[in-house]
Symmetry: C2
Subunit: 224 residues, 2 copies
Amino acid sequence: MGDVKLFWTWSSPYAQRIVWALKLKGVEYEIMYEDLTNKSSLLFKYNPIHKQVPVLVHNGTPICESLVILEYIDETWKTGAPLLPEDPLARAKARFWAKFNDEQVLPSLKHAYLSHGLEQEKAKGHALNNLDVVEKQLTGKKFFSGETIGFLDIVFGWIAIYLEILEETSGMEPLDKERFPFISAWKENFSDNTFFKEDRPDKEKLITMYKGVREYFRCTAAAK
Amino acid sequence: MGDVKLFWTWSSPYAQRIVWALKLKGVEYEIMYEDLTNKSSLLFKYNPIHKQVPVLVHNGTPICESLVILEYIDETWKTGAPLLPEDPLARAKARFWAKFNDEQVLPSLKHAYLSHGLEQEKAKGHALNNLDVVEKQLTGKKFFSGETIGFLDIVFGWIAIYLEILEETSGMEPLDKERFPFISAWKENFSDNTFFKEDRPDKEKLITMYKGVREYFRCTAAAK
C-alpha cells in the first residue's frame, strides 16, 4: 500500500471524507494533524495552491482537493467495495451530484449558518430548496446508489455531522422529517457504521467552535 | 455509438470543449443549437438544475457539466487516444488542474474583463498570477501532458480563443510572450489542429458580443 499520510484537521468536513474512504478501503494511514490557525510548512509545501487540508501524501507525492483524492483512492486501492460505480453513466451522475454538493448544497447551508435576520431567512429558503433536490435523489433508496455506501454518501456525509451543528449554533430549525424523510433516514443509515462512529468529531467541541466562527463573522460584518 | 446530441451554443467555451472531445474521439453527433436569450424547453428538461449548455444527450439520457461530460466521453468511447492518462496519480493531477482552471483561472480572467479602473487593475494582476501558475505547468512541454493533446488541453483550450477576445474588448494588454513563453507556444500548438480550426467561432462576432456584455455589466453596475 506504500506510505500514506493524511494532512487533516478534526473540524473539516472535507478532510473527514478522506478518513471515511481510507477506512472503507482498509488502507492504513498516518494522520498529520494541522492546526488551521498555525499551518505547518509541510502543508504549504504539499498544497502550495490552496494551502488547505485535506492533502493525501502517497509515497511522498501529494494529492489535493477532496473529490480528486476520493477518485485517486478508488483508482489506487482495489480493496473493499469500489466507491464509484462501473457504468460510465452512473459515474457521470455521481460526479455531477458531488459537484452540486460542493458548489451549491454545502455553500448554501454555510451561508444560512453565517447570516442573520432577513438575509438568513432568504439563505435558509435557498438552502432548503437545495436539500429538496438532494431528497429527490435519495427517494426510495437507503444510500445514494442503492443498498451500499459509495462515493456520494461520502461526499454528502457532512450532512450527518454538521447539519445539526449549523442548526444549533445559528437558530435554524432542525431538519423537518416530513419534508425530508429520505435524508432523515439516510442520516441514520450512514451514521450507523463503524467507520463513521470511530471518527466522529466531538459534538460539544464542534458547537463551541461553530458558535465562535458565527460570532466572528457577525462582528466582522458589523465593523464594515 | 448510439444517438448523440449536443446542446450547444457558438459562444460558450464550456460547450466548445465537448465539440473538441467528440471530434478527437471520432464520435458523430448532432448539434442542438441553443439561443441563450431564449432557451428551449428541451434544455430545461435535460438540465433542470443549471439550465445551461453544454448538455450531452446519449441515447436519450442527459449528461451535464462540461468536466463531467469530458470524463463520460473518455470512459464511453475508446476510439481515438484517451483524454485522461491511465496512471491514477496523473489522472488526479489532471483533475486538480481542471478544477483550478474552472474555479480560478477562467473566473479571474472574466473578472478582469468585466471590471473597470482600479478594480480592473487589481483583477488583472490576480488573473496574471493565475496564468503564471499555468505557465509553470506547461514549462518544457508542448501540451499539458507532454507530446499529445489530452484532457487538460481541452479544458484550458478556451485560452486559445477567448484570451485575445477578452483583451481586445476590455483594453487589457496582449499576453506577454516573455512572461508566458510556454502558454504562447501552447496556444499555437493547440490552434494548429484540424478539430480546432474547423469549429473556431468567428472572431468578429465574438468581439461584438463580448463588447456588448462588458457594456451591459458597466451600465448595470453604474445603476446600482
